[in-house]
């Protein structure tokens, strides 16, 4: 590695920002993909991958993705919960890869709930 300058220090910090948002908390949005056996069977893994892909493309560093167990509505899987800081969580149902991409752009980035996939507003908190 070459000799670092002050701006290099800042750049390195910037480059790793999303990793440290993940470790430190302090994220703006959290998307929870429900990955019970039912969710996985319905394609939740692909939802996660599509989501990670969108986050990567957007360059956002304040959004995290977690997984949680079955949401209790197996017939409506794959499901995700979108939590934007200081807003009630929104559950989405019967998602496709395109669907999650749309939700990511419209809701996670844009703050607009995507009605056609929305199931409920407000839900149990995830840990």
């Amino acid at each position: 590695m070459a000799k670092l300058t002050i701006s290099d220090l800042k750049q390195i910090k910037e480059k790793h920002k999303s990793t440290f948002t993940l470790r430190e908390g302090g994220y703006r949005a959290k998307v929870t993909v429900h990955m019970g056996t039912c969710g996985i069977a319905a394609g939740a893994r692909n939802i996660v991958n599509a989501l990670m892909d969108e986050i990567g493309k957007s360059g956002a560093d304040d959004i995290i993705v977690t997984t949680s167990g079955c949401a209790g509505l197996c017939s409506k899987e794959p499901m995700v919960t979108v939590e934007i800081l200081n807003n009630p969580p929104v559950k989405y149902k019967e998602l496709t890869e395109d669907g999650i991409r749309e939700i990511f752009r419209e809701h996670v980035l844009g703050g607009k709930i995507v009605d056609k996939f929305a199931l409920v507003i407000g839900s149990e908190t995830t840990y």
């Binding site: 390195i12 480059k15 993940l22 470790r23 993705v65």
Partner: protein, 458 residues
């Protein structure tokens, strides 16, 4: 930059490694590979998290789900349930000692919740072997500020105003020490770090050196600039192999990136730091003995004055500070003296790292504000005395030799190895948590005289 959805922070401090943390890590990478999660989940090896008695430990980020006492064979179920299906596994979580309910999140465990991390702020957060991790947590920003924006006088003023005192035991005001040395004119000066840590059972400094080696270097750079040092040494005992390894790696990385060596950050200031291995003599932790030992001579203290700030290593002006003292410096420079003073007492500002050991429910390393009641440390953070035993007495600071009771009353004085006055309650048969008393009673039974332990508190 690849994005991961989860980071597994696996503790690779000495304690956890001793109970097989590296096998746990191997099992994790195997299992993650098997489940094809390697692009989603990253494993990070960290330094000591301070909860060593419960190791090997791991926290899963985001959310900070905390697992303890892991065995390699536990890993498949954690990977399947938690990482794949998102269901944290209760079986490996911390349990409330009394109610036995599982506490999923690290920050909800009282042991962690009641701590305030400053010197240990990077513990469990970074990979100590990766300089970019350190830089991402504002690493070397304080050095940059001290080298490029502040004059040595301004740096010294901030440190003086912060009120920080040396963490090595004597509690001398750090800013004052730097000021003395900065005023001496000499062609060469030295900045030394005391990583000898001879006090039995203590591992505060080891843990910092292992978990966050760059913070020690950064503190030394700032101090070095303030006093005009031309060379730095870290004196570490050879019994700390992991600390030595990580410090050396940090030094190599800092040199490679120009954060040590010639003309650091184009500031015109140059500093080189070397490690010197001590052979583990307790007395070599004392500053004048340490300097002699560094010179290759027998480590014997010498009378002061002259003080090391005037005549130290090789008779040149020298500043020696403790590892934890240095670990506090970058934050003081970045956040200011007032920020530092917000915690602690009027005369002892900031936080202090302590080791909890012996008959406590939670054993480990903690950082708390100065002036915190011992009771909070023992009962809330330490989880109380183990096996339901009763509190008996506290032995006060070295040199005073007093035993204090629950309400701070003096129970007895120990003088030259003899307990002079003893309260009846201390003679009752049940086990005390203060070893001196146990030993006293045992000695008495055998008809021996009690010998006070030489240095119960540093």
């Amino acid at each position: 930059m690849q994005k991961f959805r989860a980071n597994l922070m696996v503790c690779a401090g000495t304690g956890c490694v001793a109970c097989n943390a590296l096998k746990v890590k191997k099992s994790l990478s195997d299992e993650i590979g098997k489940r094809r999660l390697q692009d989603e989940v990253q494993i990070v090896l960290t330094g000591c998290n301070g909860f060593c008695a419960n190791g090997p430990i791991m926290s899963v980020q985001p959310d900070g789900i905390f697992y303890q006492k892991l065995k390699p064979e536990d890993i498949p179920i954690i990977v399947e349930e938690h990482l794949l299906k998102g269901r944290p596994v209760e079986k490996f979580m911390f349990r409330e000692p009394e109610s036995k309910t599982a506490v999923p999140k690290m920050n909800d465990i009282p042991f962690f919740k009641l701590q305030v991390l400053r010197a240990l702020r990077n513990k469990g957060m970074i990979d100590p072997e990766n300089i970019e991790d350190y830089i991402s947590r504002d690493g070397y920003q304080a050095a940059a500020k001290a080298l490029l924006e502040l004059t040595p006088e301004e740096t010294i003023k901030i440190v003086k105003d912060s009120g920080i005192r040396g963490r090595g035991g004597a509690g001398f005001p750090t800013g004052l020490k730097w000021e003395f040395c900065s005023k001496v004119i000499s062609s060469s000066k030295y900045i030394l770090c005391n990583g000898d840590e001879g006090d039995p059972g203590a591992f505060m400094d080891r843990s910092i050196m292992e978990a966050d080696p760059h913070v020690v270097l950064e503190g030394m750079i700032i101090a070095g600039k303030a006093i005009g040092a031309t060379k730095g040494y870290i004196y570490v005992r050879a019994e700390y192999p992991l600390a030595v390894k990580r410090l050396q790696l940090a030094i190599d990385q800092a040199k490679e990136t120009g954060l040590l060596g010639e003309n650091i950050l184009d500031s015109g200031f140059s500093l080189d730091i070397e490690i010197y291995l001590g052979a583990g003599a307790f007395v070599c932790g004392e500053e004048t003995a340490l300097m002699r030992s560094l010179e290759g001579k027998r480590g014997m203290p010498r009378p002061r004055p002259p003080f090391p700030a005037v005549k130290g290593l090789w008779d040149k002006p020298t500043v020696l500070n403790n590892v934890e003292t240095f670990a506090n410096i970058p934050q003081i420079i970045l956040n200011g003296a007032e920020w530092f003073r917000q915690l602690g007492t009027e005369k002892s500002t900031g936080t202090k790292v302590f080791v909890l050991t012996g008959a406590m429910n939670n054993i480990g390393l903690i950082e708390v504000p100065m002036g915190i009641p011992l009771k909070t440390i023992m009962y809330d953070i330490g989880g109380g005395i183990s096996k339901g035993r009763k509190f008996k007495a506290v032995q006060g600071r070295h040199g005073r030799h007093k035993l204090y009771g629950e309400r701070g009353e003096i129970l007895s004085r120990v003088h030259r190895g003899r307990i002079l006055r003893q309260m009846p309650s201390l003679q009752s048969g049940d086990a005390g948590d203060v070893r001196q008393i146990d030993r006293y009673n045992r000695g008495k039974r055998k008809g021996k005289r009690h010998r006070a332990s030489p240095r119960p508190f540093a």
